[in-house]
Amino acid sequence: MDEEYDVIVLGTGLTECILSGLLSVDGQKVLHMDRNDYYGGDSASLNLTQLYQKFRGTPPPESLQLGRDRDYAVDLIPKFILSSGELTRMLVHTDVVRYLEFKVVAGSYVYRDGRISKVPSTEMEAVRSPLMGLFEKRRARNFFQYLQNWKEADPATHQGLDINKCSMKDVYTKFGLEAGTQDFIGHAMALWLDDDYITKPARPTIDRIILYTQSMARYGKSPYIYPLYGLGELPQAFARLSAIYGGTYMLDKQIESVNVDENGVFTGVTSGGETVRAKKVIGDPSYFGAGKDLESGGKVRVIEIGKVIRAICILKHPIPGTDDSDSAQIIIPQNQVGRRNDIYIATVSSAHNVAAQNVWIAMVSTIVETSVPEREILPGLQLLGNVVDKFVSITPLYAPTSPGTDENIFITKSYDATSHFETVVEEVFDVWQRVKGEKLVLKKREVELEA
C-alpha cells in the first residue's frame, strides 16, 4: 500500500458513499475503507440472521416462522426519500438511479386525538379528512392557496407578510389556523421534529411545506419513495459510482490509527500494520473515537449531541388504521403525547422486498428525552398491534468538534432522527464545502431529447 491517495474515506454509510462517489467523479484519487465486511455501516440493511446476530447473538427462533433469511433487508435507521427532495436530485444527477429500483410508500399518516388519519394526498381526501372541521378547512385552504400563489418577485402575492422575516407564528395567526392544524402543518408536512420552528422566520418552514406538497404531487399516495431491497442499497449504489470512477474499495479493514504530523495535520491511516498516506480523510464519527474513552494525549474530535431510541418491530399484519398499507409513515406530533420531540413510525414489507410475505417491519423512533427511553416510545408501540419480536437500541448521536479544515480531518455527523434524507444531503454539501473549499455544484446530467 505505498500509493498515495487524495482522500481516504472511512466508513461506507450513505453520507460517506455519496461523498466518495462525488469526489471520484471529480477526479480525486479515493481509497474507501470500512471495518465491516459489508457496505453501509449504520445505513446497512440486514437479513434475518444478521439482525438476530446483532441484537441477540442467536439465530432467528424457528418458532416465529419468519420465513427465508434472504427475503429480509431490515434497515437499522428508518428513513424514506422525499420524491422531490435533494436525495432524488442527487440520484438523478449522478445517474446512480440506474442501479436502483424504487416504489412509492403507500401512505403518510398523522396521529391526532388518539387515532391516526391519512395526510390528504388529493383534494378529495382533504375535503373528507377528519383532521379539520369545515371552517378550519376553509382557513387551511386559504393558507395553501397563499403558498401556491406566492411569488418572490411579486409583492402583491405576499399579502403583507415578509416570510423571510416574520415568524411562522405570524403566518399561522394571519390565516387563523388552530393549534391542531399548526401541529399538522408543522410536523406532518414541514416535518419538524419539535416546535422550535414556530418562533423562527417562516421561510424554511414554508419551503418544507412546498417540498412536501411537491413530493406528494409527484406520485400520489404519499410524498415518499423507498428503494427495493432496503436502504442499504443506497450506499452500495454510490460506492459503485465511486468505483466506476476509479475509487478503490477495501472492506473488512480494521483502522488502527488515523495519523497526524506534529502540527496535528492528517498524514494517513494505519490498517493491518500498513500505513496508507493521503492528503485528506473523511469519515463517520466511529472512526474518530466516538463512544470510546480518550487515550491520554488524544484529541477530542467528536462529541455526543443527543440520543435516539429506535425499536425495530416484526409484525405479521399491517399497522391498524393504515388501510392495509404495504408501507407507511406515521407521525405522532410531540404535542399530542406531551413530548418535546415527535415520535415516528415507519413500516415496510414484502412490497419493497425487505421482508417475507405477510411480514411487516415497523420502526418506532424518537429523540431520547428522559432516563427511561423505552417508555417514551410506548405511544408508538401501542399503535402497532401484536408485535412478534422487537429489537430496541439507544444510539448516541455524534458531531465533530471542529470543521476539520486545519487538520484535513473531516468528520461527518451521525444519522439524525428525521424521517427522511434531506439532512443527509445537507451534510454532504457541508462536508464538500469543508473538504474542497467550494460549493458543491451538481452538474446537470444531460437529458437526451427524443426525436
Binding site: 420524491s83 416504489k103 449504489a237 459503485r240 437526451e448
Partner: protein, 258 residues
C-alpha cells in the same frame, strides 16, 4: 431471421461479470459489444455498464452487462451487484491456475447470494495463448483472427485457435480443458474456453446464455415506459406494485436491434 410480421419484444436481462483482475472480463464484453480488442486495457474504470442485444429464433435478449468496476479486487463487491442478475459470466485465465480457484469461489458466492435461477457460465479466457484447442466447437472453421481491431460491426466467424508459436506456447496452459469442464458439469455451469483477442467462442457464449435463461423466471419489467405515459411533471398515478421512474431521460432510450 424473424421476418416483418410480429415484432419480437426484447427481454431485458441483467448479466454480471466476475473473475480475478486481468483475466479479461472487460475484454470479453468489448469483443461481444463492439467486436473490438485492446492489447493494453487499463483496469476497468469509467464505463461499467453496457448493453448488447442478442437475437435468437424466437426472442431478442437485451443484455444489460455489469462489469465489476474493480470492486472485486479487494473482495469488496457489493451484494447489489448480483441483485436480480439472470446470468453471470465467471471468467478465469487458462494460463493462470490460481484464477480458476478464484472463479470457483465466485461461483460459490453466486450460488449463495444470487437469484437461485441464475445461469452461470464458466469461461476460460485467453485461448489464443495456447495451441491445443478447446474442447468445444472443434468442428467450427478454424480461421484465425489475430487482429480484429479494424473489423466493423459484424462479429467475426467463430474461430478456434491459431497461434503463431504452436509448440512451446502449449506450456502456457495451466488449466486443462478437462479439469475445468468436469468442475463446470458438477456445478451445473455452462462452460466455454474463449478468446477475447480472436473472438473465438465469444458470441457463442452469450448466445448460449441467452438460450438457457428461463424466460418465465424473469421478473416482468413494467417500470420501463409504464410511468412515461403519465406525462412529465404532472401527477402520475401509480398502479399497485409498480416501480417509479425517477430519471426522466431514462425511458426515452430506444435504439434499434442489432
Amino acid at each position: 431471421m424473424a421476418s416483418e410480421e410480429a415484432p419480437v419484444k426484447a427481454v431485458q436481462v441483467k448479466l454480471v461479470l466476475l473473475g480475478e483482475a486481468a483475466v479479461g472480463k472487460s475484454s470479453l464484453v468489448l469483443r461481444f459489444c463492439s467486436n473490438d480488442f485492446n492489447e493494453n486495457t487499463s483496469p476497468t474504470i469509467g464505463a461499467a455498464f453496457l448493453t448488447q442485444k442478442c437475437r435468437l429464433e424466437n426472442r431478442i435478449v437485451k443484455f444489460e452487462i455489469w462489469d465489476t468496476a474493480g470492486q472485486e479486487r479487494f473482495h469488496s463487491l457489493a451484494p447489489m451487484y448480483y441483485r436480480n442478475a439472470a446470468a453471470a459470466v465467471v471468467v478465469y485465465d487458462i494460463t493462470k491456475a490460481a484464477s480458476l480457484e478464484k472463479a470457483k469461489a465466485w461461483v460459490k458466492e453466486l450460488q449463495r447470494q444470487a437469484n437461485p435461477n441464475i445461469v452461470i457460465a464458466l469461461v476460460g479466457n485467453k485461448l489464443d495463448l495456447v495451441s491445443d484447442g478447446p474442447a468445444k466447437s472443434v468442428d467450427e472453421p478454424a480461421e484465425a483472427t489475430t487482429d480484429a481491431e479494424g473489423d466493423d460491426s459484424t462479429p467475426p466467424p467463430p474461430s478456434t485457435t491459431a497461434q503463431p508459436s504452436s509448440s512451446d506456447s502449449d506450456d502456457l496452459r495451466q488449466v486443462s480443458t478437462a479439469e475445468a469442464e468436469t468442475y463446470a458439469k458438477e456445478s451445473s455451469l455452462l462452460f466455454f474456453e474463449a478468446s477475447a483477442k480472436t473472438g473465438a467462442n465469444v458470441s457463442e457464449l452469450f448466445t448460449e446464455i441467452a438460450k438457457t435463461i428461463p424466460m418465465e423466471s424473469l421478473a416482468p419489467k413494467p417500470a420501463q415506459g409504464a410511468a412515461a405515459a403519465g406525462g412529465r411533471g404532472g401527477r402520475q398515478e401509480q398502479g399497485r406494485g409498480e416501480n417509479v421512474q425517477l430519471g426522466e431521460g431514462q425511458q426515452a432510450k430506444k435504439g434499434g436491434c442489432c
